[in-house]
């Protein structure tokens, strides 16, 4: 590794860009297209494993490959699951929009078609003032963060295209004041004509449309984030389209992230006059998130799960910081990458993926060393054999209980996100098992114990799950009936629970069979009956949560499939340069691990420290302005001190106090001190921690960061 001093400024360093190397040809030729499994995953993951004999090495290599394959399979599965879920959620709105598009197109066509001659002449024809209205859909997103809906609009485009429309997906980037109306027109032409044209002229589109389509299908222009477009460019664009709408049956779909008032506020009144608006609403992000959590994380679709801390971290990100689905999916992907990189045993995940768990899919022997297997009671060999199938069973039980709970909570708008988080908590599970979870409200209930992750207020009042269960007691009979029906559906295939749910439904049916003609007395009795049924349902779900809702982290071998390192995930997802770079400077010894700068107390500047680090430590003593003169003097004073080593050598000098005062300066010339000072200031400037002197205050630099 070339160290600092050897790096001279080379030609390449001064070029704006250069080609470092081209893809190595040999590999290009050698690579044969043999399907997905042999992707060029040559990633060597076992840098820490010291394998001595060759067979071991070969084994490792095999394991690595299967880990990578597992990762790939798991991710492909998750990705497609997410896609399906979103597709299903959006299906209704998309169909609605498509219906509206076709209807609008019909309306345009009925108002009169033009012959080719008229249509391609260069000036617009206005036959009727009312006829140049553009049918416009305002699609309201229920999240101000439009990033989630980018994909939605892309999907909408594909959906409409599949129904024959000519679709162009534009965004606010196309409607910038800088490129003006030419910019959006060019990308419109580009997408619809499917070729690049330099001329930005709408008559090109008109003649193309006459030639290729001739009023069979509409042209749909989707603008995904209307709120961020340049107002004047968008208004001009609409005015222009309105002039041509008879020739080109164009339909606008505008994504609105703020309110329905926004279009009126943004667009000029002239442009608004030409719009004939309709409204559509996209789903709420929490609903979508719940659907995704259900499909991806609650039902083990991929042989990959996350632990409680990770779930809590992801939940916090969603609720507190980001609120977007995109970042949630990103977090899941990052988690799965980290998991397969870090967990050497993850090559066996396959067993959980298959529908039928084969006997051969036993966990490998190394798995017994996992911490979760230390307290196994059954014989080890059996545990290995049945480990995968047992785990699958427990996971299925867990997920059906969670989904049953979610059905209960749906009325009260309890999100699966919260339930999921609480259901994963191993501490709560242990508490529940010590007979904590009671249906009756208990004033003596001690507040739950939480660590630093994911606590919420409602839980301090007794836990979301127990609150949800309590709701069952207040359900009216009809709702209870529905609930039991849903439970019946959810628990299908999980025999242990399904039987009990069935039993309860039979009892319910009996109750209903009571003669319809009933006296007042009977009604009361009936109520009593259904109350009892409520009680029973509550008791059932309580029992289910207690016995079957075993969080993944309480299952033996869970390390193989479960990612739990929330800190690592956080570091990879959201870097914190402001804090970390300052810490680098203030605690440089932690990274450099040199013997010379080791001091007992932190932040004591000594001469052997890295110059910039030393300067930044010194800067902490100043206010928001640092006087350059003082700073330089203190820097010079410190670097002139003797290093620790030198001090040891000169131990003979009379008294330590005196030595400190008369510390013999090292031979540091003024020039070199100034040079070091300058370089350190430059480096601090590069990190953005300093602002350079202004003309008004030439002798001061300004500090930018205060505290970490």
């Amino acid at each position: 590794m070339a160290t600092a001093d050897e790096v001279h400024i080379s030609d390449n360093d001064l070029k704006p860009f250069f080609v470092l190397h081209k893809a190595s040809n040999s590999q290009q030729h050698a690579r044969k297209p043999v399907g997905r499994t042999s992707r060029k995953v040559k990633v060597n993951l076992s840098s820490s494993l010291a394998a001595s004999d060759e067979s071991q090495l070969l084994d490792d290599q095999l394991h690595k490959n299967s880990r990578m394959k597992n990762f790939h399979d798991a991710w492909v599965k998750i990705e497609s699951t997410i896609k399906d879920v979103l597709h299903n959620i959006n299906a209704d709105v998309f169909n609605e929009i498509n219906g509206w598009v076709q209807k609008s197109f019909g309306a345009i066509c009925s108002s009169g078609k033009l012959d080719t001659n008229k249509a391609t002449c260069s000036y617009p024809i206005v036959t009727d003032v009312t006829s140049n209205q553009i049918f416009t859909a305002f699609v309201v997103m229920s999240n101000i963060e439009f990033v989630d809906d980018l994909q939605t609009f892309a999907d909408l485009g594909v959906h409409l295209q599949s129904h024959g429309c000519h679709v162009a997906n534009l965004s606010s980037v196309d409607f910038s004041a800088k490129s003006g109306i030419g910019g959006c027109l060019r990308s419109l032409l580009r997408q619809i004509l499917n070729s690049s044209t330099d001329a930005a002229d709408i008559s090109i589109l008109a003649s193309w449309y006459m030639e290729h389509d001739d009023y069979k299908n509409p042209v749909v222009v989707i603008i995904e984030d209307m709120d961020r477009c340049s107002a004047s460019v968008l208004s001009d664009f609409i005015l222009m389209l309105s002039e041509w709408v008879i020739k080109i049956p164009v339909i606008l779909i505008l994504g609105v992230a703020t309110t329905l008032e926004a279009p009126k506020n943004i667009l000029s009144s002239k442009a608004v006059q030409h719009l004939s608006p309709s409204k559509f609403f996209l789903g709420h992000p929490t609903d979508r998130l719940d659907a995704i959590i259900e499909a991806v994380l609650v039902k083990p679709c991929s042989g990959f799960l996350v632990g409680h801390k990770v779930a809590a971290f992801i939940r916090n990100c969603f609720l507190r910081q980001d609120g977007t689905l995109t970042s949630f999916v990103r977090a899941v992907k990052m988690a799965i990458v980290q998991h397969f990189l870090m967990e050497p045993l993850s090559f066996t995940v396959k067993g959980l993926l298959d529908e039928e768990v084969a006997e051969a899919d036993a966990w490998p022997r190394q798995a017994l060393d996992l911490p979760s297997c230390m307290r196994l009671s059954e014989p080890k060999s059996e545990a290995l054999l049945s480990g995968a199938s047992q785990m699958k069973e427990v996971l299925n039980l867990w997920s059906s209980v969670v989904l049953c709970l979610h059905e209960v909570g749906k009325n009260q708008r309890t999100t699966l996100l919260d339930l999921y988080d609480e259901a994963l908590d191993p501490k709560l599970y242990n508490l529940r098992n010590s007979d904590h979870l009671e249906v009756k409200p208990d004033p003596q209930r001690p507040s739950w114990n939480y660590d630093m992750h994911g606590q919420s207020f409602e839980r301090q009042k007794g836990g979301l799950i127990s609150r949800t269960i309590r709701q069952i007691r207040d359900l009216p009979p009809a709702a209870l009936h529905q609930l039991l029906e849903k439970w019946d559906k959810q628990t299908e295939g999980v025999d242990m629970i399904h039987e009990k749910v069935k039993e309860l439904r039979l009892q319910e049916d009996d109750n209903l069979k009571e003669p319809p003609t009933r006296s007042r007395k009977q009604t009361i009795r009936n109520n009593g009956n259904s109350d009892r049924l409520n009680e029973k349902a509550a008791a059932l779900i309580t029992c289910m949560t207690r016995e079957h809702m075993q969080p993944v982290e309480c299952i033996p071998f869970h390390e193989i499939v479960c990612f739990r390192n929330a800190d690592k995930l956080q570091a990879a997802l959201v870097g914190d340069p402001r804090k970390r770079i300052q810490l680098d400077l203030l605690e440089c010894n932690k990274f450099l691990k040199c013997s010379c700068c080791c001091t007992k107390s932190h932040n004591v500047p000594i001469s052997s420290m890295h110059d910039t680090s030393l300067m930044y430590t010194l800067a902490q003593e100043h206010g928001n302005l640092i006087n350059l003169h003082d700073w330089y003097q203190s820097f010079k004073a410190v670097i002139s001190q003797k290093t620790v080593k030198d001090k040891h050598k000169s131990k003979l000098s009379p008294s330590p106090k005196k030595r400190k005062i008369t510390a013999e300066p090292q031979i540091i010339t003024e020039a070199s001190a100034q040079a070091r000072f300058c370089r350190a200031v430059t480096e601090l400037q590069i990190t953005g921690l300093l602002r350079m002197p202004s003309k008004r205050r030439q002798d001061y630099v300004q500090r930018v960061a205060f505290g970490l």
Binding site: T3, V7, P16, S187, S196, R580, H622, N627, T687, F706
Partner: protein, 363 residues
């Protein structure tokens, strides 16, 4: 409880800020002047800077070495669609280039030096497209292989076309990637939002992978959620190296240099070398005029224009002005009012320095 922590943090943060403000205002504020230090001559200072004896060389080398064990992890993340963003104190230039040349041999790698003052991203995109095209050509004929034949040269194509090419569909069995390495994606030449949006679009292309470094503590403010989550898809890695910012720091004026506003010959040379030959020649015309007329206040713009047009360096005043703006931005050229009221240009360097500069760029 966490809420509480956050409040505490915020409180701490604002308290620190006001404490700092306070101590700045208090009567004890030092009013010492820089001029009280016996400042060394700028040339000597520059020479001295280049001679600074490195500290902790061994430790820094082993720290950087320790990151080698992460290369595989990085390559894996890169392969699966994440962009790598490396941060932490110290120059990461050598680290990233070492990573790219050892672990990314299967990708073509293009390096962008973001610390330079001006970078033409269209040229970068063109180079990427050319490299990718070569790569695709070499591949065994796939279904899409034939369609690349009738391509017009990349440098005459629009940016949208280039991006569309980079974002082309790829055959699942033979993926070709171009890896874009950007030193200092937060550097002065790339700091504007237009460049960042363009980079984000390039990064989101199916054939492109991105590795970048940042040094500025506020760099994340450059990106919105779409860029961070969808386009760049950053995976952060904290890798402090403590290596000196040699090349990255060259363009910053030395704080103790006399009149930090005046550029030294060295930086001027470097800036000039990064400009086009035409721009260099325009600068030379101005420099020669200044050397020939040392007592003049400067060269009027129209005189410069005529003399440049005679040499076929510029065709219109617009081109000349664009060159001049570039010069002015880098403080190579300044404007002052002539005694007869005309605006005229001069180079803020001494005669010796200017002679040396002209010599340097003539080489």
């Amino acid at each position: 409880m966490e809420d509480h922590d956050i409040d505490e943090d915020e409180f701490e943060f604002s308290r620190n800020y006001f404490l700092a403000k306070e101590s700045g205002k208090s009567g004890k504020k030092s009013a010492r002047k820089l001029s009280e230090i016996d400042l060394v001559d700028e040339q000597d200072l520059r020479a001295e800077v280049s001679k600074i004896e490195p500290k902790h060389e061994k430790e820094i080398a082993s720290l950087i070495d320790s990151y080698k064990s992460l290369y595989n992890e990085w390559a894996f993340e890169l392969q699966y669609g994440f962009g790598l963003l490396l941060y932490g104190f110290g120059s990461k230039k050598t680290l990233i280039e070492d990573f790219a040349s050892t672990a990314l041999t299967e990708y073509s790698v293009i390096v962008v030096n973001g610390y330079l003052q001006s970078i033409n991203l269209k040229h970068v995109a063109t180079a990427m497209a050319e490299v990718l095209w070569e790569q695709l050509k070499l591949q065994p004929r796939s279904a899409s292989g034939g369609s690349f034949k009738s391509q017009q040269p990349f440098n005459s194509r629009s940016l949208d076309d280039l991006i569309a090419f980079l974002d082309g569909p790829h055959a699942p069995e033979n993926e070709s990637f171009v890896c874009l390495v950007i030193h200092n994606i937060d550097g002065p030449g790339l700091r504007d939002s237009e460049s960042q949006h363009l980079l984000a679009r390039i990064a989101a292309c199916s054939h492109v992978r991105i590795v970048a470094s940042i040094d500025h503590v506020n760099a994340p403010l450059l990106w919105d959620k779409k860029m961070v989550h969808v386009q760049f898809n950053w995976c952060w890695h904290h890798v402090p190296t403590f290596a000196p910012y040699k090349i990255e720091g060259v363009f910053h004026p030395l704080i103790l240099a006399h009149g930090s506003a005046s550029q030294s010959v060295k930086t001027a040379t470097i800036v000039l070398q990064s400009l086009t030959p035409n721009a260099q020649n325009v600068f030379k015309v101005l420099a020669q005029h200044q050397l020939a007329h040392p007592d003049d206040e400067g060269m009027p713009i129209d005189v410069l224009f005529t003399s440049c047009r005679e040499r076929f360096l510029v065709s219109s005043l617009v081109t000349l002005n664009s060159h001049l703006t570039e010069f002015k931005d880098h403080e190579l050229v300044k404007l002052r009012r002539h005694s007869d009221g005309q605006d005229c240009l001069y180079i803020p360097l001494s005669k010796d320095a200017l002679e040396k500069l002209v010599q340097e760029i003539n080489q």
